[in-house]
C-alpha cells in the first residue's frame, strides 16, 4: 500500500478508536481541536526541518506529491492519526482511573 493509502487508513483507524473503541469522542470536543491546531503549527515547523535538511526522503511513487511546508501532505494525516490515537488513549485511561490519573485541581 502506498503512503497515501496508509495515511487515509490511519486517520480512519484513529477516528474509529476515538468513536467506537475507547469511545472518548474527542473529535467533537473543543479542547481536542484547539490542541490539534497548536500541534499542527509546530508539526509544520518540525516537519519542515526534517524534510528540508532532509533527514527523511520519500519515494515519489508512494506519495501524491502534494507538499505543505516541504512535507508531503500524507505527513499531516500521519500526525493527525498519531495525535488522535494518543489523546484518545490518554483520556480513556483517565476515565478508567488509571494509576496517577487523578485530574483534581489544586
Amino acid at each position: 500500500m502506498t503512503y497515501t493509502v496508509l495515511a487515509v487508513l490511519g486517520v480512519a483507524g484513529a477516528a474509529l478508536v476515538d468513536q467506537a473503541v475507547w469511545r472518548t469522542n474527542l473529535l467533537r470536543r473543543k479542547a481536542f481541536w484547539t490542541t490539534y491546531a497548536l500541534m499542527l503549527v509546530f508539526q509544520l515547523v518540525v516537519n519542515g526541518v526534517l524534510t528540508g535538511l532532509p533527514v527523511v526522503r520519500y519515494d515519489r511513487q508512494a506519495i501524491t506529491g502534494v507538499r505543505i511546508a516541504n512535507a508531503p501532505v500524507e505527513d499531516l494525516l500521519f500526525g493527525f492519526a498519531m495525535i488522535v490515537l494518543t489523546l484518545s488513549t490518554w483520556v480513556w485511561l483517565g476515565r478508567r482511573g488509571a494509576p496517577g490519573a487523578s485530574t483534581r485541581r489544586r
Partner: protein, 110 residues
Amino acid sequence: MSHLSYLAVLAACLVGTAPLEIVLRTRVYARWRRLLLTLAPTVVVFAAWDVYAIHRHQWTYERHFTTGVLLPGRLPLEELLFFLVVPTCAVLTLEAVRRRRPQWTVGDEQ
C-alpha cells in the same frame, strides 16, 4: 555534529514544551504511569507503520543527519524517540489547553 540533527529537533520539542508542565502545571510527567500506558499503543502502531514503510522503501533516512543507530526492522533510534516525544508533547498541549479552559471538558473529569 550534523548526525545529531534529528536528535536535536526532538530535544527542542521536549525543551519547548517543558514550561507547560512547570508553569501551567499540566501534571503530565507527574502522572508518568498514565503517560507511559498512553504511549504504548501509539509506539507499537506507528513504529510498525514506520518499519513497513522502510521495508517498502517509501521513505529513507539520511545517514548524515542521524546517529546511524538502527533498531530491529532497520528503524532509526530517532524514530522510536519521535513516537515517544511527539505524543508526549500532544498530551502536554491538551492538558495545557484544559488548564486554561477548564470548561472544555474531555470526559475524564472526576
